[in-house]
């Protein structure tokens, strides 16, 4: 779905706690049908940014526009178009999934059959139909997370905000959560997704903002970000025996910038690994080198993050 007018626009958001600036001049916008990932390590300012974007905190500077209207902590009506899924399991463990969802649904103005229908629908979306009448407190971590997401979808929001929804989740539940987000994005929701798992950001997000120390230090699609740091693909060739001839042949191929010898073969730095690969294989055949494996490694967001911040994403 082509991006349209922004559902969420954050402009110069700033939030300070005493002398510490938790969020510093952060700006980004999200269109309908777009998933925007806010990627950064713990303590980078992701949750504070999300809290500002949902009207949970009042910014010290900048503004938040939701569907073109300024959002404040007191903007009761505007909050109805936002579906917020906090990092914590924000459900009452003493109550069943159904009771939790009906309670939160009522707070969004749902009543009667509409409330019942929506409750059933979101329980089905997150795959908890069989256990919908059980207390949330009895659920596994992954099931709690799925129920947590359901509560944010009840009122059919236009903007879905998820704060690290897969932390501490088993692979099966994690996959279910990611599939749910993809389907919602494809259904036209604007999604703001924070994570420190770069593979999630790569899988879900049309665009990614990299946040560190409260500042948005880079933004764009994965390709744009890689280009921004001049990231290169790498081709790893495992070839027992003499690789001198192969190395010389590779250096003559257009698109290969560098050839590095390894104990078990060669590593090639290239602009576009997939397009260069046939020529590399032909060179190996021509020089009589026996390739036991070939691997094309494209730069990922982890690489970008490392290049931009000088530290690992999970620091």
């Amino acid at each position: 779905m082509a991006p349209t007018a922004p559902v969420l626009a954050c402009r110069g958001l700033t939030k300070r706690y005493g002398n510490r600036t938790a969020v510093d001049e952060v700006s980004f916008q999200i269109a309908a049908g777009e998933c925007y990932g806010l990627l950064g390590p713990n303590g980078a300012g992701k949750t504070t940014t999300i809290s500002l974007a949902c009207g949970l905190l009042e910014p010290d500077g900048g503004e938040v526009l939701v569907e073109g209207q300024p959002l404040f902590t007191t903007s009761v009506d505007l909050k109805a178009v936002i579906g917020y899924i906090p990092q914590e399991i924000a459900l009452y463990p003493e109550l069943s999934v159904v009771d939790n969802l009906k309670f939160f649904g009522r707070l969004y103005g749902l009543t009667g059959n509409r409330l019942d229908d929506r409750t059933r629908a979101v329980i089905e979306i997150v795959g908890l139909t069989e256990r919908s009448k059980e207390r949330v407190g009895n659920f596994s971590g992954g099931m709690k997370r799925r129920a947590n997401i359901a509560a944010g979808l009840l009122h059919e929001p236009h903007l879905l905000v998820l704060d690290e929804p897969t932390v501490g989740v088993d692979p099966q539940s994690r996959n279910a959560i990611l599939e749910t987000v993809v389907s919602l994005r494809d259904a036209g929701l604007a999604v703001l997704y924070t994570t420190h798992y770069m593979e999630e950001a790569e899988r879900l997000c049309n665009r990614v903002g990299i946040i560190d120390g409260g500042s948005l230090i880079a933004e764009g699609t994965r390709r744009q970000l890689v280009a921004q740091v001049r990231g290169q693909d790498r081709i790893r060739l495992v070839a027992p025996g003499d690789t001198d001839a192969l190395a010389r042949a590779c250096k003559r191929i257009d698109g290969i910038d560098d050839v590095v010898r390894r104990d078990d073969g060669l590593e090639l730095a290239v602009h576009d690994g997939r397009s260069v690969l046939p020529a590399v294989v032909a060179a190996a055949t021509g020089t009589g080198a026996e390739l036991s494996s070939v691997e094309v490694m494209e730069p990922d967001l982890e690489t970008v993050f490392l290049a931009l911040t000088g530290k690992e994403l999970r620091d």
Partner: protein, 445 residues
């Protein structure tokens, strides 16, 4: 889409009560705890309604035989039985000291000129109340003064009989004060009778003259008049004070002790709100299209309902199991409601100050215990320094005790509760307003 504020509040209230029912906390705080308190109080005071001895002091400026005779006659005429232990104290100063430290509930001081012929009549007002806490006189004494303010136009002011009392809400103090006042009224009645008798004598013979010592005949007439006066209806009807048995005392102590638990319960309830802040559900509520005020009001209402239920259950249990007398039902319901509201408001205010649930918990416990001590729930206020006695009149639990005391011990109706209800209402309004200024802080991250 968004719900109205009323719908949002009702939704939050309903869910809170369901949660409390699901985790059984409402069963514990609303039913089990009141039952335990009722049982302890009931067994402590005895279910049979045995009277509790109260201590009443009598001091004489000049302990003449006339004065002693009149007092003995008045005490005997009051029909106190074993309900009251009357002790003679060495001096008015010692009596005042004993009343101040709470070792004696109240007392009567007979003036030096009491036995003189010139002061057989007591100039009005006939009973002077020495209030240990200036500026506040209990309802009993006010009632008494209203009844005995009769200016006979005879005798010097020094002949006034003094009632020394505590105006704060100790049970012993209030009961003894009432009894002291009753005895004083009988003395006054006896003196009036003697005045009349002396007037007749003066008109007909050489009887007593002003300033002279009483003759044996005067003394005999005085004693006879005092006994006769004691047999007449008292100026203050003691039967209205519910002091025949300790049923009223069970009711009074039931409410007294439960108020402390009520505050701690309210504190724990509001602490749960602080815990929600940490747990994330409060964040989700803040993100919903409802105002912060609706969230806080809905949650506070749940704490309030639990508090009212616990008090009403305690009332029902002490009445059914131990035949306690709390007073007029309408008044009890009003007092339970007003007290719960005041304590919940205070707890909510404290929660708004706390940074986390641990602080909220500590504040509720510490403030609850301090209020219990200062307000008179644990110790008679008379045993506290005068500064703290004044502070007790600023506490919601102190005023709750005044209200419950009037209901249980004086048998007043709703009209007699206007001042405690009004003050509890003011206290509630003040704390709600203060919490309201910090309402976003309660909800926000």
């Amino acid at each position: 889409m968004r719900p109205s504020a009323g719908r949002a509040i009702i939704s939050i209230l309903r869910t809170e009560l369901r949660r409390r029912l699901a985790d059984r906390s409402i069963i514990v705080s609303g039913f089990v705890a009141p039952a335990v308190i009722a049982a302890i109080i009931g067994f402590a005071f005895g279910a049979a309604g045995n009277p509790i001895p109260l201590k009443l002091g009598v001091a004489y400026d000049a302990p003449t035989s006339v004065a002693r005779s009149v007092v003995n006659a008045a005490i005997g005429g009051a029909g106190l039985g074993n309900l009251v232990q009357v002790v003679t104290v060495s001096s008015p100063g010692a009596l005042r000291h004993d009343v101040s430290d709470g070792s004696i509930g109240a007392g009567v001081i007979l003036p030096a000129g009491f036995a003189s012929a010139s002061s057989f009549g007591i100039s009005g007002p006939g009973v002077k109340v020495e209030d240990r806490v200036p500026g506040k006189t209990s309802g009993v004494i006010r009632d008494l003064l209203a009844n005995v303010t009769v200016d006979t136009g005879h005798g010097p002011p020094s002949a006034q009989v003094s009632v020394v009392s505590q105006s704060t809400s100790s049970v012993n103090g209030q009961l003894a004060e009432a009894l002291a006042a009753s005895i004083s009224s009988r003395l006054y009645a006896g003196a009036l009778a003697l005045q009349v008798d002396a007037g007749h004598s003066a008109a007909g013979s050489s009887g007593s003259s002003a300033g002279a010592a009483p003759s044996k005949a005067d003394v005999a007439r005085l004693e006879a008049a005092a006994v006769a006066a004691a047999e007449k209806p008292a100026l203050l009807d003691l039967s209205s004070l519910n002091i025949g048995t300790n049923h009223a005392v069970i009711g009074f102590y039931g409410s007294s002790i439960s108020i402390v638990f009520l505050f701690i319960g309210a504190g724990l309830g509001t602490r749960a709100i602080a815990m929600e802040r940490t747990g994330g559900t409060l964040t989700r509520l803040a993100a919903a299209p409802v105002s912060s005020a609706s969230v806080v009001v809905g949650k506070m209402l749940a704490v309030f309902v639990t508090a009212v239920v616990s008090l009403l259950v305690l009332w029902a249990e002490t009445v059914l199991l131990f035949h306690a007398t709390w007073g007029a039902a309408g008044g009890v319901v009003l007092m339970c409601t007003a007290t719960s509201l005041a304590m919940c408001s205070l707890a909510m205010f404290l929660t708004s100050l706390a940074k986390n649930e641990d602080q909220a918990y500590a504040a509720s416990i510490i403030v609850g215990i301090v209020l219990g001590i200062v307000g008179g729930n644990f110790f008679p206020p008379g045993s506290l320094p005068s500064g703290l006695q004044f502070v007790s009149q600023l506490t919601p639990n102190g005023w709750a005790l005044v209200g419950f005391g009037r209901l249980a011990l004086q048998g007043v109706g709703i009209s007699g509760l206007i001042s405690p209800l009004a003050i509890l209402g003011i206290i509630s309004a003040v704390f709600i307003a203060l919490a309201g200024t910090r309402i976003r802080r309660v909800v926000e991250l």
